[in-house]
């Protein structure tokens, strides 16, 4: 009796256990299927096409307006923005093919746009414009007085020579603005002469 009782009780227990374990196994199996095989089945059934990487292409052609529009569209991509100088040089090159006074305004607008888009800051935009399209020499420091800048006189002269070539490209070859270019050239001569004399005087103390 006791034995039977024992046997009964162990069977009951077994039944109780089997009833308790089965759902756990089932749940685990479902989880396994959902999390491990599911995505694999999904990927295999829906292959997504890989996006092509955007190619930054420098503007070409002979029409400056079109080239600028092309450059603007390209430069909206962050990837192309660090190549701004290359774009600018390409546009200048296109500009030399049809030199006219309006080009100065076009380049100014382009630089203002670049500033508004956050590609260039205001100082950079100003420097670009003035280096190529104005008589003012950006290479001339505007912080300390002339005597304080005499130590780097040779460096200033080299930068001014480089900038005069930029002005030749911008003012003369892109805008056909002889008047402004020759003014820049005259300024270059006068500034170098006065700078040389003043620095000699500063150093003669």
């Amino acid at each position: 009796m006791f034995k039977n009782n024992n046997m009964n009780s162990s069977k009951g227990m077994q039944q109780r256990y089997s009833f308790g374990i089965r759902p756990v196994i089932w749940i685990m199996a479902i989880f396994f299927l959902v999390f491990s095989l599911g995505p694999m089945i999904g990927c295999a059934s829906k292959p997504e096409p890989k996006p092509k990487p955007f190619q930054c292409q420098l503007p070409t052609g002979v029409n400056l307006d079109q080239a600028m529009a092309e450059a603007r569209s390209n430069l909206t991509h962050q990837k192309c923005q660090y190549r701004f100088d290359e774009y600018f040089q390409a546009l200048l090159e296109i500009g030399t093919g049809d030199p006219k006074a309006e080009n100065r305004k076009k380049f100014s607008n382009f630089l203002v746009w670049a500033n508004e888009q956050g590609i260039l800051n205001r100082v950079q935009a100003k420097e670009y414009f003035n280096r190529y399209f104005n008589t003012t020499f950006v290479a001339l420091p505007d912080d300390y007085n002339v005597c304080s800048n005499c130590a780097k006189q040779a460096e200033i002269v080299r930068s001014m020579e480089k900038e005069l070539r930029m002005k030749e490209k911008g003012l003369l070859r892109v805008c056909g603005d002889k008047k402004r270019y020759y003014q820049a050239n005259n300024d270059f001569d006068s500034v170098l002469l006065v700078l040389e004399a003043t620095c000699t005087a500063c150093e003669a103390r």
């Binding site: 912080d143 002339v146 805008c175 603005d177 002889k178 005259n186 700078l195 620095c199 005087a201």
Partner: protein, 291 residues
């Protein structure tokens, strides 16, 4: 009635005062306009003058120094012209006779002696004139140096310097191509005239260029004077040795060439920069990015 009369008097008296004061103002206004016209100030100029910093590069003493230097240089040129011309002819003859390197030739030796004598004569003449020239040059250089340092070197940044010089066509501007096609006295006379023309004052851009050119010229002449003084001392000692060695030394040629270059303005290098072609005037676009 009495009140009315008083009132009328008062009113008329006030009007007279008004008229008197308005006349006075008008007179003052007229006087200001007249004075402005007298000193050559149009309203625009007055504004421009206010905008520009006042730069005084040429006080009367500097102007007088330049004048004096020009005169001294002219005296020196006149006394040296004939001697240098003879010396050059003799040197040319010496070279064309192929005397260089030949020794013992009597004709060549005579030529060398003549050249040495002429050279010494040139040095002696310069020795006579040099102290006066040296004083004059030093004084001009020193005053210009102080002016350039204080007025341009300390008061302005390099970019402000360009703003001051910008767009003004200047007579003596070429720095890359500074030409020596005028004699020293002519150059100083030209500087003097330019300064006089501008009244020697105001923040004129061209005066800054004149000051720079004059100062650099005085530096060059000062170096020449120092070099010539050394050469005179050396020549005095070695003239006899040179004679016995029978040589026309390269130093002699160099000194003659330098003296000629500075005193008579022998041009070195090619021609200067051609003038700019006329530019177009129709484009006056102002960019918001302009500095």
């Amino acid at each position: 009635m009495q009140k009315e009369i008083n009132f009328t008097r008062q009113v008329s008296g006030n009007c007279l005062a008004c008229m008197y004061s308005s006349r006075l103002y008008f007179k003052v206004f007229l006087a200001v306009i007249m004075l402005g016209l007298l000193f050559g100030f149009a309203p625009g100029q007055l504004q421009a003058a206010q905008e520009q910093p006042t730069i005084r590069l040429f006080p009367t003493t500097v102007v007088e120094n330049i004048k004096q230097t020009g005169q001294t240089a002219q005296d020196m040129e006149e006394s040296l012209h004939g001697i240098i011309s003879d010396l050059e002819k003799q040197m040319q003859l010496y070279k064309s006779a192929k005397c260089e390197g030949s020794s013992g030739d009597e004709g060549c030796q005579k030529m060398i002696n003549k050249i040495n004598d002429k050279y010494l004569e040139m040095l002696r003449k310069m020795e006579e004139q040099l102290p006066k020239m040296e004083r004059s040059i030093k004084s001009t250089k020193s005053s210009l140096e102080t002016r350039l340092r204080n007025e341009l070197g300390k008061k302005m940044t390099p970019r402000e310097l360009q703003k001051m010089l910008s767009g003004k066509r200047s007579e003596a501007k070429q720095s890359r191509y500074r030409r020596r096609d005028r004699s020293l006295s002519q150059r100083f006379r030209k500087y003097y005239n330019l300064v006089k023309m501008h009244g020697g004052k105001a923040g004129s851009s061209s005066l800054a260029v004149v000051a720079a050119n004059t100062y650099l010229d005085t530096k060059e002449v000062e170096q020449l004077i120092a070099m010539t003084s050394d050469e005179i001392q050396r020549a005095k000692i070695y003239s006899q040795i040179n004679r016995s060695l029978g040589k026309v030394t390269p130093e002699m040629e160099q000194v003659v060439s330098s003296v000629k270059g500075v005193l008579f303005g022998e041009a070195k290098g090619g021609p200067g920069v051609p003038g700019p072609p006329p530019g177009s005037k129709d484009e006056e676009y102002q960019s918001p990015l302009e500095m």
